[in-house]
């Protein structure tokens, strides 16, 4: 009896201590949480993935660009809040009449983070560097944008870049081998950021290839990125976070933020909870289902102007879909307004064509197929399609894209609408990687959901990507359309391009290779601590413009 009592007391003491410890830790934790929120000047943003490299010349993913935009600047930036090109390190520029050379007047008094001067020679060094990439550095998984936009490297036939000269400290002239109307807009991509020639050489920036099969990041790309931007690189804790610090000698306004931390949280739910718990100040790609609840709890939701397109792809490898009347019927069966209201975030615009309204060549008078169930049914009957016709509808699962935050819900709404005109939808769901394989590598699919987020303000970056060449995704061969797109791409100025793209958009609207559904607006969420955030349709968001409340 005596033993039992003693043991019971001991157990009670242990339980009491545990409870006490829990309460104490609870209090301490919440105090700490409040304290850390006050860390003046530190801005913590949740990234959904790690950057691939810190050398933007070898990157094409959004998370790398997000970090790169803080460290680096290019000759050309974008107008705050729009997708239009604007002066950045080049104060002005002028193209020659033949469209073959561009003269840039450079900003004075700009230094790289290693203290070296930014000048015309540095500009030419960067252009020459890209043009002379060799071996693995030329691979599409490395210098994707240079390869794709400048059409090749030194010695390649058709390479657009010819040479660069520096007649004075602050004037650089870039010569091209052929006219390229999109040249200036393309330079706003982070891949074409200006980097310190000294640092690039010192840390072997181009030594990225271990072996052919296994390209690796250079020492420069993992530890020494050196640009002219408002923030310098501090540290990269693999898998966890990247830290940046304000650059004291920055030429522009430094702003409230003294330190930037990009914390990697790949699960969207975990990002939301991190914001709610106060461990981060903001995150991107808020799920449409979360926006109302977050707003109610006092968080700020900001929507980017849509620079996206979500479409319902139509694969003409399915014989019935080769009949334009069937494609018209499918277009008319879709109530886009209902789709947007039920499944897409606030700020989303209805789509009539495959470019957002802000992109040049947008055609206000394009042919549209308004929601009309009876007309759609009549068209199907005319095309000889029987009631209850089975059509495969492919959609991805467990994926969230800026243009398609919730594919499963979008699929549900669309398939219900299609059933109303007598089409029996055969659902085919696949996990994202597999889905892309099926869409792009096989003709074994029916109608499907896919889309795009524009990289920069260029019409070819939308319609050219989708319909510029034959593809397994759409399964058609339309030389007239392919030629029109090639011709538009090769013109010297935007003014010349404009009517060509307006015609192309009309041509696409009549041909209906896919149904443009919406331009979804990606949302960001922030804590009350963030006074303002420079939202940009092309994600050109630099944190010296972030205002903090405390």
């Amino acid at each position: 009896m005596h033993t039992r009592t003693r043991r019971q007391r001991r157990l009670g003491a242990v339980a009491g201590t545990a409870l006490g410890a829990m309460l104490v830790t609870g209090c301490v934790a919440s105090e700490r949480g409040e304290d850390s929120g006050d860390a003046a000047g530190t801005f913590v943003f949740a990234a959904s993935a790690e950057p691939v490299t810190l050398d933007p010349a070898f990157a094409n993913d959004g998370e790398t660009f997000r970090v790169a935009r803080q460290i680096f600047e290019g000759l050309i930036g974008v107008e705050q809040g729009s997708a239009d090109p604007a002066p950045l390190l080049a104060e002005s520029w002028e193209g020659s009449d033949d469209g073959l050379s561009y003269t840039f007047d450079l900003k004075e008094g700009v230094t790289f983070h290693d203290g070296t001067e930014f000048n015309a020679e540095a500009v030419c060094y960067n252009f020459d560097r890209w043009h002379n990439f060799e071996g693995i550095a030329q691979s599409p998984s490395a210098s994707y944008y240079y390869n794709n936009l400048f059409k090749g490297f030194a010695g390649d036939e058709g390479a657009v870049y010819e040479s660069c000269e520096a007649p004075s400290e602050n004037e650089a002239i870039v010569h091209l081998t052929q006219p390229w109307a999109g040249f200036i807009a393309a330079l706003s991509l982070p891949s074409f950021s200006m980097q310190s020639p000294t640092a690039l050489q010192e840390y072997g920036a181009d030594d990225i290839g271990g072996t052919e099969e296994a390209p690796s990041i250079s020492e420069y790309g993992s530890e020494h990125p050196t640009g002219t931007g408002p923030f310098t690189f501090s540290s990269w804790d693999a898998g966890s976070q990247v830290e940046l610090t304000a650059y004291d000698d920055y030429w522009g306004e430094q702003g409230d933020v003294t330190d930037v931390i990009f914390r990697v949280i790949d699960d969207p739910n975990a990002r939301r909870q991190a914001l709610e718990a106060g461990t981060i100040d903001g995150y991107d790609l808020v799920s449409p289902a979360d926006t109302a609840a977050l707003e109610e709890d006092g968080f700020q939701i900001l929507a980017r102007d849509p620079f996206t397109i979500l479409y319902l792809g139509i694969n003409q490898a399915v014989p019935e879909l080769q009949d334009v009347r069937v494609r018209q019927a499918i277009s008319m069966a879709i109530d886009k307004e209902q789709l947007v209201n039920q499944t897409l975030p606030e700020g989303t615009e209805l789509a009539t064509q495959f470019i957002p309204p802000v992109v040049s060549g947008y055609n206000e008078d394009v042919t549209t197929y308004d929601y009309d169930v009876d007309a759609a049914k009549a068209l199907l009957a005319e095309a000889g399609i029987p009631e209850g016709w089975e059509l495969t509808f492919n959609y991805p699962t467990n994926v969230s894209r800026p243009y398609m935050p919730n594919p499963e819900e979008i699929f549900t709404v669309l398939s219900t609408q299609l059933s109303e005109i007598g089409i029996t939808v055969v659902p085919q769901a696949n996990e994202w990687g597999e889905y892309l394989d099926i869409m792009q590598g096989s003709s074994d699919h029916g109608i499907h959901l896919l889309g795009w987020t524009g990289d920069y303000n260029d019409t070819d970056n939308f319609v050219g990507v989708f319909f510029g060449q034959p593809s397994m995704e759409f399964g058609f061969d339309n030389p007239e359309l392919f030629n029109a797109l090639t011709e538009a791409r090769g013109t010297a100025t935007i003014e010349e391009q404009l009517p060509l793209y307006e015609d192309i958009n009309q041509m696409i609207a009549e041909y209906i290779p896919a149904v443009p559904l919406a331009h979804p607006a990606p949302s960001l969420a922030f804590s009350e601590r963030v006074g303002s955030y420079p939202v940009s349709p092309v994600n050109d968001e630099v944190y010296n413009l972030v205002e903090l409340n405390d």
Binding site: A29, S30, T42, N60, S141, I208, R263, A270, A274, N430
Partner: protein
């Protein structure tokens, strides 16, 4: 003993060869390839072809395997497709996080599981026993991710008692020495950092430790019950030995044999079981990286990481067997 250990280690080698082949075939049987996962919507057939050629994925599978094995034997585990860094480096970067978490979970599982099982057996058929049985049953049946999510929601998001994600407050500046954050904080006398890192371990540690806790409690209970009824205990009692003496010298020592084995096996399972817990708590260990590797079809990481885990598992098994023979000299490692 040393000879036996050497023999056991030698057996591990062919096992790992077999496993490497199975792994190699398994990751390639996953639908969708790394090219689509890497390129996303930009994946034109030409670009997919380029990527496959670059990584050698378009070569015959046997040739791919032989190349892979050739490299593996020289210690080259390849490079992660997602990050471009060597697989070995990625593993080394993340292993301390998972180990730290697993140790906390194991301490919890053993620290509570063994006493719980023991008390349950001692109070067989009475209230404490019923409570312990229910607790361990619930512990075994609740899925790890669900428990992790619930713990996080209530104690981190709603109550704010514990941090919801990561290994340390993003704003905290701390010196890294070993990669084990709590230990680093203690070694460098940065007590704030050590405490912060510890607090980040509590919720994921509970989530990860609950199933092993329940299993250990059940095994302990069964084993103590069995030992209590054994002839030698009855003899000891008949000889008039004191209760505590019987408990320490006979019951506990003998009952611990299967418990030790279970604990060892649980440690191996903890490392692989961290995939779900780490994902929920955005805890940057090998589990979380493995989960993204599956999603992105990062073949080299999948192959490399699972092989490392297998090696660890084999080593833990060996240690368990050896410690088994130390506890009970009648058992010989064979």
């Amino acid at each position: 003993m040393l000879q036996v250990i050497a023999k056991r280690l030698a057996l591990v080698v062919p096992t790992l060869f077999g496993l490497s082949l199975l792994l190699f075939l398994w990751v390639r049987a996953l639908p969708g390839g790394p090219a689509s996962a890497l390129l996303g919507e930009r994946a034109t057939p030409e670009r997919v072809e380029q990527i496959n050629e670059l990584y050698g994925f378009n070569k015959p599978i046997l040739e791919q395997y032989l190349t892979y094995m050739g490299r593996l034997l020289s210690g080259d585990f390849g490079v992660s497709i997602q990050t471009g860094r060597p697989v070995l480096e990625e593993f080394a970067n993340r292993f301390p996080a998972t180990m730290e978490l697993s140790i906390v979970a194991l301490i919890l599982a053993v620290g509570i599981g063994v006493p719980l099982g023991y008390i349950s057996a001692k109070r067989y058929g009475r209230l404490p026993d019923h409570v312990a049985v229910v607790v361990s049953l619930v512990g075994i049946t609740v899925p790890v991710f669900f428990l992790a999510f619930i713990l996080k929601y209530f104690f981190a998001v709603e109550l704010g008692w514990f941090p919801p994600d990561g290994r340390m407050d993003a704003r905290m500046d701390a010196t890294r020495v070993t990669g084990f954050y709590v230990l680093d904080g203690i070694l460098t006398a940065e007590w704030d950092a050590a405490w912060d890192a510890f607090m980040h371990l509590v919720l994921p540690g509970i989530a990860l430790g609950t199933i092993p806790l329940a299993i250990i409690a059940r095994i302990t209970r069964a084993s103590v019950l069995e030992t209590q009824g054994a002839d030698f205990v009855r003899t000891a009692r008949a000889k008039g030995l004191h209760d505590s003496s019987i408990r320490d010298r006979f019951v506990l020592r003998n009952a611990m044999l299967p418990v030790v084995t279970t604990i060892g096996l649980q440690l191996g399972l903890l490392i692989s079981g961290a995939v779900l817990t780490e994902t929920v708590f955005a805890f940057s260990g090998i589990g979380q990286f493995l989960a993204t590797a599956i999603f992105r079809r990062d073949y080299p990481v999948l192959q490399g990481f699972i092989l490392f885990i297998a090696v660890l598992y084999a080593l833990i098994n060996l240690i368990v067997d050896v410690s088994y023979s130390i506890i009970d000299p009648r058992v010989r490692v064979q």
